[in-house]
Homo-oligomer: 580 residues x 2
């Protein structure tokens, strides 16, 4: 929105929902605010603050992966300045489940904010694993919770976690009793009628909350563009079983390491077909080990065998579970696909099953892995050609069911890009939430609620913090712009030496370039460029005193124009003058 | 495939189809070879040579867009060295249709090879438009062809183009009579039973060719992963009509400029709903103008109005056709979405229809455009939530029909990544092409045919040529590696001045960095780095004479380690020594 036209300033026109109704009527009685610090207007870095005068409760602290223009950035976390400023009010961080987009920012938050962390057993297990990589954190108080617990938080909140189905086990949504009324936060969820562990989403708790009157529902919008129902995780088990029955040799299955139910179903299919299971890939090994220790995976002795033992087994007796579902270059599956796995080689007729979705942006990497596996003679089964994956997020009919069960007075769609939030708002309207009671929030936008009113309050600081190596927040727009420029057309450095005493140039200029042209074939271009530099220098030498700034700027302009005319490229041109 | 194990060397094990059967039995009689120079093992840069002793016929000369690691590269074209070496045998380039992945390399090929270019009216129209941007080409002989023509090419070939349906009008496939038998090359196609212009694929010609015995079929594999049939282009017209009937204000529709049938259907829906049509975006304007001139678009006078006139019209009376279906940042739609279009502003309740597929890699850009349009209050309709697009490529049932109609002796799947080619080979087997008669070719691999045999012959040089600005092929792995390195972590330059006569350092070292750390907050880091440089320099100054190479290498190693330890980043470290 670079230009502001007079049209744009008309109020209440460019939002369909209650976003623009700032400072509406405010009711009486106790107040509570919700403030998304991440996850509204984006998929990722989910974080939500719920606040009364005395207490702040934080839900989740997730990361997001950088977009294609954030060169060199490892991860992105929410700007949690607001929490730092109000640290004394924070009573705890509640984690809904153990995915990175819900727990990945935790080490960075806990480095600056001291408060207890609440989560279910597996979620805390994953967090503790993660914190091993951040040894300098202060000691942290972990509080393990169970669905249907009632947990007092500060003087304002009582939290009732309830079971949800999702693509990771032990996820919960939260019923939060506040002085102004009940807030339901769904976390990530789907409504799986036949979950692998038999534990459906807690319909009864949701019905009970709905029945007692819910003030606000905040619900997962990820899959709102999909009509109907998301298929049950158990269906994947059926497909795996079918596919396994056709396999002639080794079977390799890759999925997200955190998808314990999927892993469980793979192992069960293996047992069914009298195969042993070996695990490769660091994160997969870690998860299987932890999930077994915590009781989420439980197989007969001898089902899981050491990886090195598969060489001794007939190919027909082996299933390998591996990392690499996103084509990550260093993953076990990528190494298998490029024939560079140290312990295992793909053989013709091996079967590789990619039991995971393609995260947008990873299409090319996954495509390469699949092509390479086919080239080695493997049969590769993936989402596009089979039904070996189901989503962990609710589709439209499930979202409607959630809205109807909870039937909240106010509704805030969360966990989605703007378009998802709009579609979810439209869906809520269809199931009779009043249009004026639906709020599409931006990150940082505060929604103030009383028992019967809601209005947009004062926004708080939010945004992104880029993490690159050890640097948290030190890479900003300047560094990124330089990286983008360097990536596009490389750079040319011109070095001039000047005698300090005389102010005269005392050497030939030197030109160095990287990433611009292939130097062995660019002699002519560089000779001409040198002539340009010499001309500029000679011009400026005529002057009484040399103005470093002026000569640098002359050089930049001259060379930029020259290079563009010759090559239609615009390398970064960096003139350097050193005084000797 | 970095490591070669003994297993890998076993012959005939790691290919399911006849790929590895080099130098099989060769029959008698005249021979013909087919050599893919692009499009086998990739989607894009389609190019095929068909060769006898005397003549070479080239089919298509397409480009491909760079992958995410080819920083700064504009386009990729096939390495056509083989054609240059055999230029005297080339009798012509046949174009199947006017998409960039079939004609985009033409200006580069024609700059080096003189031969006539054959194509249908619209295809040649598009080519001529394209060549306007390459004014220095020698004069080119264009030969316009029509479906069912019989065109003698050299002494070896008679080509019969036949009509196909595709997402661009005036596409053809080729029946090629060679001394060894008939080769059918499908080009890109689908089998649309109800095409917009009433012209179905030429079933009768294909049946006639099939009946008279086809030696080799080469068929489009793009959509082989999709079961069933691709929906008819006409269905989109129905959906557009429905959507138009619900629109309350302006309607904007974006699609590929080359999709003339789609444009036709948009205009027809507009006429149905008594709306006028305005066009924005350079390529869209150009296509509509050309397609109208050539007779592919024909509407009642006054249907298309000048863009500036829409301001005078009621919003309910206007449809805007625009470029930007892939979220291209400078396109008309992107400018509308960011409120920076000079002539038009999106208003709440405007309707935007994205009637195009998402090309992989463009998800993020398109997503941003959609989100921005929603933020401006528009209703946005796109493939994920509606049926406003259909594919132009054949799905499995259509591919089977093609195989059955033509029932060739030999089969080569083309236009696909390796996985598509494998799936297409499996499909051909299902419809009774003999497994040993199916060949999966790599680019550059020659298939030699006689009237009853086929075998893999000697490969020819192929590969990619990267085009960056005016440079064709000068960006190679060295330049790209540098760009990737610079993009990831930026660079640090250290400059030292040495007195030529004494060989002594005569100035403070200078350190410059870009894209590495934010310099204003990195004083400490840079001071420490300077100390490291000083130490290295002091060490080497003790020696009798200064070895430039050694000191540079010391500086590089020292600083790399230092920076990595401090930041976990690995900038490019460039020591420069200048002599004064």
């Amino acid at each position: 929105m670079e230009k502001q036209s007079s049209e744009k300033k008309r109020p209440n026109r460019n939002r369909r929902y209650s976003k623009a109704k700032k400072r509406g009527h405010q009711g009486s009685g106790p107040r509570v605010s919700v403030i998304p610090l991440g996850g509204c207007g984006e998929i990722g870095k989910n974080m939500m603050a719920i606040e009364t005068e005395k207490d702040i409760l934080v839900i989740d602290a997730g990361l997001m992966f950088p977009n294609e223009e954030m060169f060199g950035v490892d991860i992105i976390i929410p700007d949690f300045t607001y929490l730092k400023k109000n640290a004394s009010h924070i009573r705890g961080i509640f984690l809904t489940h153990g995915h990175e987009d819900h727990i990945g920012a935790l080490p960075y938050v806990l480095a600056q904010i001291k408060c207890p962390v609440y989560g279910t057993k597996l979620t805390l297990g994953l967090v503790k694993n993660k914190l091993l990589e951040h040894p300098n954190l202060p000691p942290i108080e972990f509080i393990q919770i169970n669905p249907r617990d009632k947990i007092k938080i500060g003087t304002s909140f009582t939290v009732e976690p309830y079971r949800v189905s999702h693509s990771i086990v032990d996820g919960v949504g939260l019923g939060i009793h506040t002085p102004a009324g009940i807030i339901v936060h769904t976390g990530d969820f789907k409504i799986d009628q036949t979950p692998v562990d038999g534990e459906t989403i807690d319909f009864h708790k949701l019905a009970e909350l709905g029945n007692s009157g819910v003030l606000l529902l905040m619900s997962d919008s990820t899959n709102v563009e999909r009509s109907g129902y998301s298929r049950s995780e158990k269906e994947v088990g059926g497909y795996l079983d079918e596919i396994f029955s056709e396999a002639k040799r080794r079977i390799m299955v890759t999925t997200f390491a955190s998808n314990v139910h999927r892993i469980k179903q793979v192992v069960e299919a293996a047992i069914n077909h009298k195969r042993k299971v070996a695990v490769t890939g660091m994160s997969m090994n870690r998860t299987v080990e932890m999930a077994t220790k915590l009781g989420y995976l439980d197989f007969p002795e001898g089902t899981i065998i050491p990886f090195e033992d598969i060489k001794k087994m007939p190919a027909k007796k082996v299933v390998v579970i591996t990392t690499g579902s996103q084509g990550e270059p260093m993953s076990a599956l990528s190494r298998l696909a490029t024939n560079s796995h140290r312990q295992l080689k793909i053989q013709p007729q091996d079967m590789v099953i990619i039991s995971a979705r393609v995260i947008p942006g990873n299409e090319a990497a996954i495509g390469r892995t699949i092509n390479n596996l086919f080239k080695l003679g493997a049969e590769v089964i993936y989402e596009k050609v089979s039904e070996v994956h189901v989503s962990g997020h609710a589709s439209q009919e499930e979202l409607k069911l959630m809205l109807n069960l909870v039937h909240p007075r106010f509704f805030v769609p969360i966990h989605g890009e703007y378009r998802h939030l709009v579609h979810h708002a439209q869906l809520a309207e269809k199931v009779n939430v009043l249009k004026e009671n639906i709020f599409i929030l931006d990150n940082g936008q505060r929604l103030e609620l009383t028992k019967d009113t809601a209005r947009i309050g004062r926004s708080v600081q939010t945004g992104i913090i880029m993490v690159d190596g050890k640097g948290v927040g030190d890479v900003g727009s300047v560094v990124l712009r330089d990286r983008q420029h360097l990536a596009q057309d490389g750079m040319v450095i011109i070095i001039l030496a000047i005698e300090k005493s005389s102010g005269k140039f005392i050497s030939e200029p030197e030109i160095i370039s990287r990433g611009f042209v292939y130097l062995r074939h660019a002699d002519e271009l560089m000779t001409e460029a040198m002539a340009k530099v010499t001309t500029v220098v000679a011009e400026s030498s005529k002057k009484a005193s040399i103005d470093h700034g002026a000569i640098k700027s002359d050089l930049r302009d001259t060379l930029r124009k020259f290079f563009y005319a010759k090559t239609e490229r615009s390398p970064m041109v960096l003139p350097v003058i050193i005084e000797v």
